[in-house]
Structure formats: C-alpha cells, structure tokens
C-alpha cells in the first residue's frame, strides 16, 4: 500500500476512535502498514495542520445529563454578522457559533448551539447572552431539540480502495 493510501486508511480507521489497546498506535500500524511511530507522527501532524481539531473523549452530552440543547438562530445584518459572531464566540457562552446562508422563508444567518442540563437553564443562558452582548435588537428563534435519532462522528473518509494491509 502506498503511503498516501495508508494515510487514507488511517483517517478512515481514526473516525471510529482510538483502539482500546495498551498500544493503540501499534494496532493502527498493523492495519495500515505504517510503523507505530509514523501513525503517531501523522496524527500529531494533522493536529498541527488543523485537520484534527482536538483529540480526546467525545462525550454524549445527552446521556450525561445535558438534556437540553438549543439551536439559537439570529437574523443579523450581513455587514454586522462577522463582528457579532466573533463577539459571541469570545463570550464563551456557546459551544458552537456558525454563519450559514439565508434561504427563501429562512432569514437567520447566525447559528449558535447551547447545551444545558435543563430547558430553564438554557433559556436563562440565552437571556443572559442576548442582554450582556447587546443582541436584543436582532430577530431570533430558539429551536430546542426533542428526539435524538442519531448522533455520531462524520463519515468523511472512505477506506482505502485497495483494502487494508491485513488483506480484508
């Protein structure tokens, strides 16, 4: 397998998480044909490059008692949206903050995600956020989640087309 294919295979395997083995990188090495050191080095390189944003435990907030999760959307004038987005990001009061396009019938262009242990707590956090950052003038909606049908990592990487080094 070429180095490029091996890297592709490594990314594919990493989407499922680090093996629960005393030597997790050796397991990945055996599945990709890279050496154990190369596997760790690639992962560190991808972290430096920003392909990997963080490396750690990916928790299920819902299962851990964070039962309320609100998508808070704002309609912010286009020329102000970057400034407002950065202000919200810097406040540390939201876990995600994105700009997305408007659509016919959908005017909201700034999306935030707020997680809390109950609905009242999230509503309180939203009220504080709007007040403390001067966002009261902007139209907004709160979309609480109800049922969670699926929650898993992305499916960006396909297995190497020629199959893994161990022949499967």
């Amino acid at each position: 397998m070429s180095v490029q294919n091996a890297e592709q295979q490594l990314k594919f395997l990493l989407q499922q998480g680090l093996p629960l083995d005393s030597r997790p990188y050796r397991v990945l090495a055996q599945q990709t044909g890279l050496s154990e050191e190369q596997v760790l080095q690639r992962i560190q390189q991808w972290q430096q490059e920003g392909l990997i944003r963080r490396m750690g435990a990916i928790v299920d907030h819902h299962q851990l008692g964070y039962n309320a999760n609100a998508m808070l959307v704002f309609d912010i004038p286009t020329e102000q949206v970057d400034m407002v987005g950065e202000t919200i990001a810097a406040s540390g009061r939201v876990s995600l903050c994105y700009r997305r396009p408007r659509r016919p019938g959908w005017h909201y262009n700034l999306f935030c995600m707020i997680h809390g242990r109950c609905r009242d707590q999230v509503l309180q956090q939203i009220a504080q956020l709007r007040q403390s950052l001067g966002l009261s003038v902007f139209p907004f909606q709160i979309l609480f989640s109800r049922q969670q049908f699926k929650q898993c990592g992305g499916d960006y990487f396909e297995p190497d087309a020629k199959g893994a080094a161990n022949g499967n």
């Binding site: 998480g17 154990e36 851990l64 964070y66 995600l96 959908w106 990487f157």
Partner: protein, 164 residues
C-alpha cells in the same frame, strides 16, 4: 436531572481528556499515571463509558471543512411521519446529528461526504426519497467550535434545574 452512575476514575477521564490525550505511544498508561490509576483500569473505564453510550469514542475530532464536505440540512416533515422518516434517513451514508427540533422545519441533520460532488450526490439521493420541504445550510464561517466544554456534575446551590 439524572446523571448516570460514574466512578471517580470515569469522571476524571471525562474532566481531563476531552481536549487532549497524552502524546506518547502508550496514552492509556500515561492517563493512568496522571490519575494515579493503572492502565487496565483506565481501559476498562473507557470501555464501559463507550458501552453505555456516555462517550462515543476516544479519538480525533476532524475539522469539517478540511476533512471533506458537510452541510446542515433541515426538513419539514408531517408530525405523524417524522419518526419513520428520521429512522429511514439514518440508513443513508453520511447522515449524523439527526435531531427533531421544535420548529416547522422539525428534522435537522448534518450530512457529510468525502468531497463536494459526493455530498451533492448524497443530498440528491436523500431528497429524491424524502421529498419534503428542505433547507440546505452549509457552514460559511465558523466563529467557534468546541463541544469539549467542561461538564458541571453538580448544579450548585442556585441550580435552576434542581428547583422543580
């Protein structure tokens, strides 16, 4: 609020290792050393957290944009068909974070693929099978992304969630 029963070791793992892992060839051994435990117990504790669905995995979070293509999608589905449609959508490759939300657009999910063209194809296949009103809302700019925030295990004296 109900928090599932966790050992001190499991809480310490969640508290200490959402943002980073020790960068050695033996990360579980290093976690054990840092927490005053042993490697077998750390691995067993993580395995139990995964088996119970409390953590999904231990590993990398890939950057959406650099890793491939993705978009947020919202659909407006009649209430009596929602669950069936949501579960059917789950069978499509690349769908994750599939939630019902309180809105006329009541089903929200993220669709991912290896590149833009593959994403477009997945989207077309989905819309063909599920022809509901749809909003396709790709991320244009990320101001903040971090779901690894510290968890608050006990609400404290002024816990609004404990008042009822």
């Amino acid at each position: 609020m109900t928090v599932p029963a966790l050992t001190d070791l499991q809480r310490a793992i969640i508290d200490g290792y959402q943002q980073h892992l020790p960068s050695s060839l033996t990360p579980y051994q290093d976690i054990a050393s840092e927490l005053g435990s042993n490697e077998a117990d750390v691995i067993a504790a993580i395995d139990d957290l995964i088996q119970r669905g409390l953590i999904r995995r231990l590993g990398p979070v890939f950057d959406h944009h650099r890793a491939g293509a993705s978009t947020l999608v919202a659909m407006a589905i009649p209430a009596d068909k929602l669950e069936q449609e949501a579960l059917s959508l789950n069978s499509f490759a690349g769908i994750n974070h599939n939630y019902e939300r309180e809105h006329q657009y009541n089903l929200w999910f993220v669709l991912t693929a290896s590149h833009d063209q593959a994403l477009q194809q997945r989207l077309e296949a989905i819309c063909e099978r599920h022809p509901w009103p749809v909003l396709v809302l790709p991320m244009e700019q990320a101001y903040h992304i971090n779901l690894g925030f510290p968890l608050n295990w006990n609400g404290g004296a002024d816990d609004v969630c404990a008042k009822r």
